[in-house]
Symmetry: C2
DNA sequence: TGGCAATTACAGCACCTACTGAAATTGGTG
DNA sequence: CACCAATTTCAGTAGGTGCTGTAATTGCCA
């Protein structure tokens, strides 16, 4: 009597991927299907799945997976792989997907810095008002300056 | 011939607040009006404005400002102030509004940590699959552990 | 208690976006 | 070149959300 290897139910995995989807929906404003696909690719077996396979697993149409997978691959969260002798493209979650997800959440800080700069320029003669704008500028500048070396350290620790 | 103090055009300020709104719309998924109101409160004169005043400035209805200002005050980005002898409530941007905005962008990390924990529990017998989930768990744990002391330092530097 | 200014609740409208199904396209194979 | 599986495009639809106008409510004052 060997140890039983319990294979998780398909529905359990689906439900888990749905949790991932819900999280990124609320936190990052992702469309539901995007989070479902990514969540599925985290726990599926085998690791590499065809678009059709993903579609069936997360109960979405193949058509919608075309655009979803394009977004995921072009942002490098998912890699498309092909095999000689097969027409099908397979997809797998990228090893550095999560570092990229985290970085995306910080992208655009400098855009706001530029907006606040323009705001201060609008109010050259009014110290109190421009101070309100400057407070925002300084807070976001602090954040972007803190975050930059943080990710550099991540890279250093994870470069192979 | 004293120095002229140029008062910015109302439309200039409106346009600037609109830029703020656009930014938070795209980056944080805020409704347009929310960003408009916050942007307006950054550059308005006087600093404290009634709901009706804000509504007129950003060309929105008073009704919609009721809910918008409730969201902004309950998340402490905006403070409601009242004056003796006046019925009107006035609103001003909070001094620590930006620290709060930034913190909000990190809120919910632990929620995802819990989801990944459950995912690993779903796959006790499959090292490769659970490793995929663990990669996410470790990345987000790293982030939350980096971010915590970062904000503590901010608090220490800005506490009065 | 009645009156009035200010605020709020709520139903409806307009808009937008995710998603699907069907048709068109691609590209490898015999 | 013809065939066929796989993928993509695109128009249409369903669902959801922000916002407004109106009507109700609050609460201060005489």
């Amino acid at each position: 009597m060997g140890t039983e290897r319990r294979e998780p139910e398909l529905d359990e995995l689906r439900a888990w991927a749905e949790q991932v989807a819900t999280y990124f929906m609320r936190l990052s404003g992702w469309p539901p299907i995007t989070g479902r696909a990514l969540g599925w690719l985290m726990v599926c077996e085998p690791r590499e799945q065809s678009a059709a396979g993903i579609a069936e697993a997360i109960r979405a149409s193949r058509a919608s997976l075309t655009s979803t997978l394009r977004v995921l691959t072009s942002s490098n969260l998912v890699q498309a792989v092909t095999r000689p002798g097969e027409r099908t493209t397979y997809y797998r979650i990228a090893d550095d997907a999560w570092a990229r997800v985290m970085r995306q959440r910080f992208a655009g800080l400098s855009e706001f810095l530029e907006i606040t700069r323009q705001g201060m320029a609008l109010l050259p003669d009014d110290p109190e008002r421009s101070a309100r704008v400057r407070a925002a500028n300084e807070a976001f500048r602090w954040l972007s300056e803190e975050v930059e070396p943080m990710f550099e350290q991540w890279d250093a620790e994870h470069r192979r």
